[in-house]
C-alpha cells in the first residue's frame, strides 16, 4: 500500500546536521577562525559587506564561514540580519575628497596633486601560482612611506575648474532608499546607484562589459580610482553637532566619458560614478560604466535599445539575492501545477489523435 511521504521535519533536521558536518570538513584540519577569514580573505569579506549592504567585517566573516564560502549565500545571511536592525538615522554624506587613500590612480593624467599611488593591487602581479604559498605564507614587511597629510583632491575637480566636465547638481534632498520603499520606475539616479552598489558584481560586470563592446558604447576613461578610509559622521540632535561614529573603507571610481554635446549643452565630458564598500575595484568601475549608460535620457543621448541603457531591466535583475531565490525556487515541489499541465497535454494529444483518426476515416471512405 502506498503511504504518503511523511517525516519532512526529520528530513530537514537531518539535512541540517549533515550540512553542518560538511561545513566543518575534516576534523583533522584545524577550524577556520573569523579573524583568519577577515584578515586573509578580506576581498571576499568586502564583497559580502558591499552586496549585503552592511559594513561589518566580523559579521561578514561569520557569514562566509557559515555559508561554506558561498558568497551569495553569505550576502543573503547578512541581508536577512540587516533587515532586523533598527535604523537610528542617516549619516552625513561621506567626504571621499578627504579619504586617507591606500590606492589612488588616474588613467587620464600622468600625474596630479596627490600622485599616482598603486597601493595593494593585483594589477602588475604575474598570475603565476605561488607554490611557496602552499607551504609558507609568511611575507617580508612591505616598505612604508610617510602618509600624506593634506587631502587628495578629486581629479574631476581639475576638469571642473576648466568647466569642461558636467557639473553635478548640488542637492540636499534625502535620497530614496530601496530597502524602505518599493522600487518604482523611473527610479532616479540616487536609487539607481544604491541598487548598483548592492547589485551582483558579476551582473554589473557583464552589463558594463556589454557597453564596452558596443551595446550603448560610451568610452569611459577612469578619471580616478581611489581606495581608502573615510570617517562617517552623524548629526546627533541632542548635541546639535555632528560627531564621528566610525570609519569605513570605500572604493570610489569616477569615469570621464566622451560627450558630443546636444542642442542645449555644449560639448563637454560627462561622468559615471561608482562607490562600493571595501576594496572592490572591479565592482566600482563596472558600476560607474553602468551608471553612465543609464544616464542616456538625462544627457539627451539616443536609446539604442541596449540592455545597459534599460533602467527597469538592469535594476530589476541586479540583485543576486532576489535572482538566486527565484531561480532556485524551481527546485521546490511543483507537482500540483505539473499535474495540471500533464492533464492538459494528455487531453490535447487525445483530441489531436481523434481528429487525425476522423480525417483518416473520412479519406478512406471517399
Amino acid at each position: 500500500m502506498y503511504v504518503a511521504v511523511k517525516g519532512g521535519e526529520r528530513a530537514i533536521e537531518n539535512a541540517h546536521a549533515w550540512l553542518a558536518e560538511e561545513r566543518r570538513g575534516s576534523k583533522e584540519v584545524s577550524e577556520l577562525s573569523l579573524a583568519q577569514i577577515r584578515e586573509q580573505l578580506s576581498l571576499a569579506v568586502n564583497r559580502v559587506m558591499a552586496e549585503g549592504s552592511l559594513y561589518d567585517p566580523d559579521l561578514a566573516a561569520l557569514a562566509i564561514k557559515q555559508s561554506r564560502g558561498d558568497l551569495i549565500e553569505a550576502i543573503f545571511l547578512i541581508r536577512a540580519y540587516r533587515t532586523t536592525l533598527p535604523r537610528f538615522g542617516c549619516s552625513k554624506p561621506v567626504e571621499t575628497g578627504k579619504m586617507a587613500c591606500d590606492r589612488r590612480i588616474s588613467a587620464t593624467f600622468k600625474d596630479a596633486p596627490g600622485g599616482q599611488v598603486l597601493g595593494p593591487t593585483f594589477d602588475y602581479t604575474h598570475r603565476l601560482l605561488d607554490f611557496k604559498l602552499a607551504a609558507d605564507g609568511e611575507v617580508p614587511e612591505a616598505a612604508v612611506a610617510e602618509p600624506r597629510r593634506e587631502a587628495t583632491p578629486h581629479i574631476t575637480e581639475f576638469l571642473q575648474g576648466e568647466d569642461i566636465i558636467e557639473r553635478e547638481p548640488f542637492s540636499d534632498a534625502e535620497p530614496g532608499d530601496l530597502t524602505r520603499e518599493p522600487m518604482s520606475f523611473p527610479a532616479g539616479r540616487a536609487v539607481r546607484l544604491q541598487s548598483l552598489a548592492r547589485g551582483d558584481e558579476g551582473f554589473i560586470l557583464g552589463m558594463a562589459y556589454s557597453t564596452q563592446r558596443g551595446y550603448a558604447r560610451n568610452h569611459a576613461f577612469v578619471g580616478e580610482l581611489r581606495i581608502g578610509c573615510v570617517p562617517v559622521e552623524m548629526e546627533i540632535p541632542e548635541l546639535g553637532f555632528a560627531i564621528e561614529i566610525g570609519e569605513v573603507e570605500l572604493t570610489e571610481c569616477e569615469t570621464v566619458n566622451q560627450f558630443k554635446g546636444s542642442k542645449t549643452v555644449p560639448p563637454q565630458f560627462t561622468r559615471g560614478y561608482g562607490l562600493v564598500f571595501g576594496q572592490s575595484e572591479r565592482k566600482s568601475i563596472a558600476m560607474a560604466l553602468v551608471d553612465r549608460a543609464l544616464r542616456w535620457e538625462e544627457l539627451g543621448e539616443d536609446n539604442v535599445g541596449a540592455a545597459a541603457q534599460d533602467e527597469e531591466f538592469v535594476l530589476s535583475h541586479a540583485d543576486n539575492i532576489q535572482a538566486t531565490g527565484f531561480l532556485e525556487h524551481i527546485k521546490l515541489p511543483h507537482y500540483v501545477d505539473f499535474q495540471s499541465e500533464l492533464e492538459l497535454v494528455r487531453k490535447l494529444r487525445r483530441e489531436a489523435e481523434e481528429l487525425a483518426q476522423t480525417l483518416a476515416a473520412r479519406e478512406a471512405a471517399e
Partner: protein, 285 residues
C-alpha cells in the same frame, strides 16, 4: 525566541504591510506595492506569504501551512516551524481549526468560513507579465483596463490547440475590474475563489500585495463558445475514494503504474477517518 519581535517582523514593518493589505482589500485585485523585507528564507520560498502572515497573525491565532495542498511538504514544515518559533502560535493540520492558512499552489478542498484568512504565496503577481515584461507598461494597462492582449493570448491558444492551454495560474477578473493572477493554483481551484474567507496574496520579491474580500466576484477569463472548465485527473482518490478533490499522480514502480491521491492531505485524512476507502486504501486505524 526572544531576540525577535512577535512573528519576527518589527511592528513598524507590520504596520506598513497591514496598510498595504487594507488598501488591497479596498481595491480588490489591485497590486499594491510594498517595501518587502529580506526574510530569513530565500525569495521564492514564500517570503511574500510569510510577511503577510506575520502581519496578520495575533497570539490567539491557529496557523495551518500547506504546500501543494499538503501539510507535510518540506517547505510547509519549514514555514510552520518558523512561526512556531517566532510567534509561538498554535498550529494545526485541520483546515476547519485554522484561523490563518498560508498556502502555496492550492486552495483547501473544504469550504472556508468567514472567520478564516487564506494567505497565498505568489511568485509573479502580474498576470500580464509574460505578455509584457515591463512593469511600467503593465501598470498602465491595468489603469486603462487594457486587457485585450490577454484575450488575444487566450484566443491564440484556442486557434493553435483547440483549447485554452493554461492549466494553472489561470487569470481571473475581479469584480469586473482588475485582471488578477490567482497565484499558481491549478485552474481546478479557481471557482473556489468566490469564498467566505478573506484571501490575501503576498509576493515578496516582486514587492506586491493584493487581496480579495469575502464573497468577491472572481471570474475566470474565457469565451462564450469556449467556457472555462475546472479540470482534474479523471479518477477517484485511490486512498479515500473522493471524486471531487484535486489529485496528485504518483508513480509506483518501474513499470510505470500509477495511483492518484488527494493533494489536500487533510481532506483525504478526514475522509478516511469518516470511513471512506479508495481502491488502494485501508481503513484508518
Amino acid at each position: 525566541m526572544s531576540d525577535y519581535n512577535f512573528a519576527y517582523l518589527d511592528e513598524q514593518t507590520k504596520r506598513m504591510i497591514r496598510r498595504a493589505i487594507l488598501k488591497g482589500l479596498a481595491v480588490p485585485g489591485y497590486q499594491v506595492p510594498f517595501a518587502s523585507r529580506e526574510m530569513p528564507m530565500p525569495y521564492g520560498w514564500g517570503t511574500g506569504g510569510v510577511q503577510v502572515s506575520a502581519a496578520t497573525l495575533t497570539p490567539d491565532d491557529t496557523l495551518k501551512v500547506i504546500d501543494q495542498g499538503a501539510d507535510d511538504t518540506t517547505n510547509a514544515v519549514s514555514i510552520r516551524k518558523f512561526f512556531e518559533k517566532t510567534a509561538g502560535v498554535s498550529t494545526t493540520e485541520v483546515t476547519e481549526k485554522a484561523s490563518v492558512i498560508q498556502t502555496r499552489h492550492r486552495i483547501p478542498e473544504a469550504a472556508l468560513s468567514e472567520d478564516q484568512i487564506l494567505v497565498y504565496q505568489v511568485p509573479i503577481p502580474e498576470p500580464l507579465r509574460f505578455l509584457e515584461p515591463r512593469e511600467t507598461e503593465t501598470r498602465k494597462m491595468h489603469a486603462l483596463q487594457e486587457y485585450g492582449l490577454m484575450h488575444v493570448k487566450l484566443y491564440e491558444d484556442i486557434s493553435q490547440h483547440g483549447a485554452i492551454a493554461t492549466a494553472y495560474a489561470y487569470p481571473v477578473k475581479v469584480e469586473g475590474r482588475y485582471v488578477m493572477d490567482p497565484s499558481p493554483i491549478p485552474k481546478f481551484d479557481n471557482p473556489k475563489m468566490e469564498m467566505a474567507a478573506i484571501q490575501l496574496f503576498g509576493a515578496g520579491r516582486e514587492q506586491r500585495i493584493y487581496a480579495l474580500p469575502p464573497y468577491t466576484k472572481v471570474v475566470s477569463l474565457d469565451f462564450e463558445d469556449y467556457p472555462f472548465e475546472a479540470s482534474k485527473a479523471d479518477h477517484p482518490c485511490d486512498l479515500c475514494g473522493a471524486e471531487d478533490s484535486y489529485l496528485d499522480e504518483v508513480i509506483l514502480d518501474d513499470a510505470g503504474s500509477r495511483m492518484f491521491v488527494c493533494s489536500d492531505t487533510d481532506y483525504c485524512r478526514s475522509r478516511r477517518d469518516a470511513g471512506h476507502i479508495g481502491r488502494m486504501g485501508e481503513l484508518a486505524a
